[in-house]
């Protein structure tokens, strides 16, 4: 599966603001580059990213070719209850990746 890295604090206090950092290995081919023979290299990017907290979507991003390769996405969430935070990436040519992280909220 495609390599992704997520950084979520293992535990937090109820109501605390947590920072979530995600990295995905992907060239994010823009579709504007050309080969040495002048042919366009077709677009191949991650198009969408969804983060869900115990099943409920809390953050969604639509990515375009202007996002740099190996996309980094950093955002915040409120630690409401213990459980699982899931991350889903999807993109061109059937690209898909998922990751999840457990969080304990005290």
């Amino acid at each position: 599966m495609a390599r992704v890295v997520v950084n979520v604090p293992a535990s937090a206090k109820r109501g605390e603001l947590i920072e979530i950092k995600t990295l995905a290995a992907h060239t994010m081919e823009t579709g504007f580059r050309r080969t040495q023979l002048g042919e366009l290299i077709p677009r191949d990017i991650i198009r969408s990213f969804v983060c869900a907290y115990n099943g409920e979507e809390i953050f969604r991003a639509g990515l375009h070719p202007a996002i740099a390769a190996n996309p980094l996405l950093v955002f915040t969430a409120v630690a409401t209850e213990s459980g699982t935070i899931t991350f889903t990436w999807s993109g061109d040519n059937g690209y898909s990746a998922t990751q999840s992280a457990a969080i304990t909220v005290v």
Binding site: R3, V5, K21, L23, T27, M28, A69, N70, L72, V74
Partner: protein
């Protein structure tokens, strides 16, 4: 009749004196040029210091350093069995965090079989073919970069210390010669920019001192992780000189010289550079 007054009494002696003076200046110029080039050890600075604040932060924070994507893949490969011998790196070397600590800072290192220095990528491939009985990994392939990134990461913070002795001295000299030799259509040597003009701007960007303190590194220009040899070939192409193929002795000798030139500086792998 009074003798015509002259400013100097003896024209022949004056001529000789002038000749000696010119010769002395010429010799001093050559000698001066040979010594003025090298950067004094105390003035050496890593490419890290020539980058903007944000790029530095990208390198420092392992949660956002894209190089870590390769490091993690390298860790997976380290533990995966491979080849006819069905062995993983871990089967012989155990936990890389312990066994590989400090290793990357010593490469290129002398290889007794080949009787010449080899760099880390070549050492990894030697293990693959000899010990794992697996096919060697192509230069700049994802797998080879991942493994070398994983290994180099285990030496983050270690001072660079390549061994120069009777066996490796002549390769160091060959590398030094390459570094100082003018090459290519622009007739530039590495030293022209990186010894004499570091800190000045080229195409709006500061010229670094060219110390390989963070390889393999994530270069923003490549949008990927790459090896020192890839960077050297870039430079040579940029100078409109012929770039030797990956793995060639000329490149490894140059790597050896560059690592020796950076001796004592701490490894930052996997670094980030513009």
């Amino acid at each position: 009749m009074v003798r015509r007054q002259r400013l100097f009494r003896d024209p022949v002696r004056r001529h000789h004196r002038r000749l000696r003076l010119r010769l002395a200046v010429l010799l001093l110029g050559f000698v001066g040029a040979a010594f003025a080039a090298e950067i004094p050890p105390a003035e050496r600075r890593s490419g890290y210091e020539f980058m903007g604040r944000e790029t530095r932060a990208m390198q420092d924070d392992e949660t956002t350093n894209p190089g870590m994507l390769w490091v993690l893949d390298g860790e997976a490969l380290w533990n995966r069995k491979a080849g006819a011998a069905d062995r993983a790196c871990a089967d012989c070397h155990g936990d890389a965090r312990a066994s590989m600590n400090g290793v990357a800072a010593r490469y290129p290192a002398f290889d007794a079989t080949l009787r010449r220095p080899v760099d880390l990528e070549q050492r990894i491939n030697a293990c693959r073919t000899d010990r794992q009985k697996a096919a060697s990994l192509a230069f700049e392939s994802h797998e080879l970069l991942a493994l070398s990134a994983y290994l180099a990461r285990q030496s983050r913070g270690t001072p660079i210390a390549v061994a120069i002795d009777d066996r490796t001295k002549r390769f160091l000299d060959a590398g030094r010669e390459t570094f100082h030799r003018r090459q290519g259509q622009l007739n530039l040597s590495c030293a022209n920019c990186h010894d004499d003009l570091w800190g000045r701007k080229l195409a709006g960007t500061p010229i670094p001192q060219a110390h390989p303190t963070g390889y393999p590194l994530y270069r923003l220009e490549w949008q990927s992780l790459g090896s020192l040899q890839r960077r050297l070939r870039n430079c040579l192409n940029g100078m409109r000189a012929e770039a030797p193929p990956f793995g060639s002795p000329e490149l490894v000798d140059l790597e050896l010289y560059l690592m020796w030139r950076a001796r004592g500086m701490k490894l930052e792998s996997p670094a980030v550079r513009p």
